[in-house]
C-alpha cells in the first residue's frame, strides 16, 4: 500500500502559482528525491504536505488517511517527521531535551503528572530519556547529550535535528537539504547516517537535495521540479539522461 500519496496539489501565493498539479506516491521503505533549481518550489511542497500551508487544491493521504488541512502537529504525530533546510533548533535546550521533546504527543501522564510529579510521570520521562539516548547513539551524537545545542559543531547540530525527527517515530521522514552547508567530510558522514537510519528503521525517506552526488547515490526515484511543476520523474540514471532535466537544471554538471 502506498504510504504517502499526493493528488493534484496546487498552491497559490496570492497571484503566484508556487506549485501546480503536483502528484507523488511513496511506498513504504522507499527513498525518493526531489530536485530542482532554486525557487522551484521544493520546500513549498514539503511545507504543504507537512501542514504548514494548506494547499489551494488537491488531497494528501498518509497511510490511507486524508491529512489535507490538518495542523502540522497532528500530521507529525501521525508519523511524518521532518528536518529543516535552515536548522531550527531550540537555542536554550540541551541535545537530550530536543530529542525528548519530539515525544510530546506520545506522553500520557497529562497535566496532573506535569504539575504534581507523579510516579507515572517519572517512569514515563525515564522511558523517553532511554529512547532518546538510543536515537542519539544511532546518529552518533550521544556524547553531546547534555550540552546546550548551540555549543555543538554544525554537522553535529544537523545530526541532532535528524535524531529529533526520528523520535516522533515517523513512518516517513522528510529531509530538507540535510547536507546544506556541510564540508565534504561531514557530507559523507551524513549520507552514511541517512543510509543507516533507512536500513535500521525501515523508514521511507523523502529528500530535497542540491548536491547531485547525494541524490544520485541515495535515491531510488527522483522527481525534478521546475517552476512548481514536475517535469521529470524516474530512476537516477533516467533523470541524469533526461534532456528536459539537463536543459532545466543539470546541464552544466553532466557536460563537465
Amino acid at each position: 500500500m502506498t504510504l504517502l500519496r499526493v493528488d493534484d496539489m496546487t498552491h497559490w501565493f496570492g497571484g503566484l502559482q508556487a506549485v501546480s498539479g503536483y502528484n507523488v506516491a511513496i511506498e513504504p521503505g522507499q527513498i525518493r528525491g526531489l530536485i530542482g533549481p532554486n525557487g522551484a518550489g521544493k520546500t513549498t511542497v514539503f511545507n504543504l504536505i507537512t501542514g504548514r500551508y494548506r494547499p489551494t487544491e488537491g488531497h494528501i493521504f498518509l497511510d490511507g488517511q486524508e491529512i489535507t488541512g490538518l495542523p502540522p502537529h497532528k500530521i507529525a504525530s501521525m508519523g511524518l517527521g521532518r528536518t529543516f533546510q535552515n536548522l531550527r533548533l531550540w537555542r536554550h535546550m540541551t541535545v537530550l531535551e530536543h530529542v525528548k521533546m519530539a515525544r510530546y504527543s506520545k506522553i500520557t501522564y497529562g497535566l496532573a503528572g506535569a504539575f504534581f510529579g507523579t510516579a507515572r510521570r517519572n517512569r514515563e520521562e525515564d522511558d523517553i530519556e532511554t529512547r532518546a539516548r538510543e536515537l542519539l547513539e544511532l546518529v552518533g551524537a550521544v556524547d553531546w547529550a547534555d550540552h546546550i545545542v548551540t555549543n555543538l559543531p554544525y554537522g553535529m547540530q544537523r545530526r541532532v535535528e535528524l535524531a529529533r525527527a526520528l523520535a516522533i517515530q515517523p513512518k516517513i521522514l522528510f529531509l530538507d537539504e540535510p547536507t546544506a552547508g556541510m564540508n565534504p567530510e561531514e557530507l559523507v558522514q551524513m549520507m552514511e547516517i541517512v543510509r543507516l537510519v533507512h536500513e535500521q528503521l525501515g523508514l521511507a525517506i523523502f529528500l530535497i537535495e542540491h548536491r547531485m552526488k547525494v541524490v544520485m547515490d541515495l535515491c531510488e526515484v527522483i522527481q525534478t521540479l521546475v517552476f512548481g511543476q514536475v517535469i521529470a520523474e524516474g530512476t537516477p540514471d533516467e533523470i541524469r539522461n533526461d534532456p528536459r532535466v539537463i536543459e532545466a537544471y543539470l546541464g552544466k554538471e553532466v557536460m563537465a
Binding site: 504525530s77 529543516f84 540541551t94 515525544r103
Partner: protein
Amino acid sequence: MSADENLRQRLSSVGRRVRQWLRVQFSPVPLLGWFLAALVAVILEMLVGTPLARLLGMSKFPVLFGFALALAQPVYIPSAIVYVLLIYVLPVALVARLSIRLGNLLAGWLMRTSPLLSVVVHLGLLYGTLHLWAGLSDYRVLVVRLMLIAIMLTLSLNVVNGYMGEFSCSHPGFMALGAYAASLFSVLFFVGNDAFGAPLLPIGLGPFLFPLGLILGGAVAALGALLVAIPSFRTRGDYLAIISLAFMFIIKSLFENLEFLGGARGLSGQPDWASLPVVFAWTILCVWTINNFVRSTVGKALNAVRDGELAADAMTVDTRRTKMVAFFFAAFWAGVAGGLFAHVLRYVNPGTFDLKKLAEVLAMVYLGGLNSVVGSIVGAVSYNLLSEALRPLELYKWIIIPLLFIMVMIFRPTGLIAFREFDVVKLLHPREGTPGHAGPGAVEPQAER
C-alpha cells in the same frame, strides 16, 4: 606598570584568595547545615537580641538587619553592623563550618531513607526558622508574608514572560480577580456586611474552607486569562503585551465601578486567615507545582515554542494548547496570590492593582532572571528586602532601586540567575567530596548561555 595598576592587581589577587578560602571552608556545607545555622542564629536573637541591642546603645533590636535604623539614624550604623555580625554572620558561619560532618551525615542519612523525608525535614527547618525570626515582631510577619506572596507572583509571571517568552502585562489584573473573588467568598459566607447581609455559614468553618476560596480566586483569574488568551495566541508578536495591558486597566476600572464590592473605596472585613503558615504552605505548593511543570517535557514545550514555534509544531507539540495551559496556570497562581494578599492586608481596593504593581512584578522577574525558578525566588526576596530596607529614604528609594536595576541589566542582562534548572533533590544531597558551590541556592548550572 603604574602604581595604580599595581595596586589594583594586588587587590584582585587578595580578593581571589579570599574567595578561594571561603570556597574551601564552606563548599562542603550541605543545605541542611545552612538551615541549622540559620535556626541557631534566630534562637540566639530570641535569647540575647534585645539585651545586646541595648548594650550597643539601640533602643530595641534592629528589625530588618539594621538597614532601616542605619538609614534613618546614621549614628547607629556601627551598632547595627556589630549586631548583624554578632547575631547573624558569625553564628551562621561558625555553626555551618562546625556542623559539616554532622550535617553531611544527617543529610546523607535522610536522603538514603527517603528523599521525601529529606524534603519535609528541610521545609520544616526552613519554616521553623522563618516562624521564630518573624515571631519577634509583627512587622517581620507582615514583610515575610508579603515576600512569600511576591514569590508566587514572580514565579507565575516567569512562566509566561520567561519560559514561554511572551510579554504579559495582565498579572495585576489576575491578582485583582483572585483578591476580589477570594474576599467575596470569605465576606459573603463567613463575615457578612451591609451589602451582603448576614453570613451564610458559621465563621468557625472559615479557616478550613479558606483554601476553597483561594482556589476559587485562582479559577476566576484563569477565567480572566481565557479572555486575554483567545485573541492573543492566534499569532505571535506584541499582541499579548497590548491586549494584556488593556485587560489590566479594564479589570481595574471594573472593580472601581462595581458598587457592591465597594467600588473605588475597596472591600474590607476579610478575616485574618492568611497567617504565616498558611501563606508558607501555599507558596511551597506554588513553587513545587511550577517547578514540576517547567521541568517536565510537557512544560519544556514552552521553551520549544519560544525558541522556534515552527520546529515545535513539526515535532508534534500542540503549540496553542501549550501556550494556553501555561497562561491559565500562571493566571491561577496569580489569582491565589491575590487572594492571599487581600487576606494579609485584610483590605483590598482597585487602586492597588495598577501600573505600579505591574512594574514591581516585572522588575522582580527580570531582576531574578528569566526561565529560572531560583531566579524568581531570589528576585522576589531581594526586591522586597531592598524595598523595605530603603524605606527610610522615602523618595530617594525610587531613585536608588531603578539605578540598581540598571546596573543589573548592564552586568547581567538576563537577570541574576537566569536559565537554571532547580533540582531540589540534588540540592539536598550531602556535599562531602563534591567540591563546587557554596551556600543555599547553589544549583548545578543546567545551561551556560
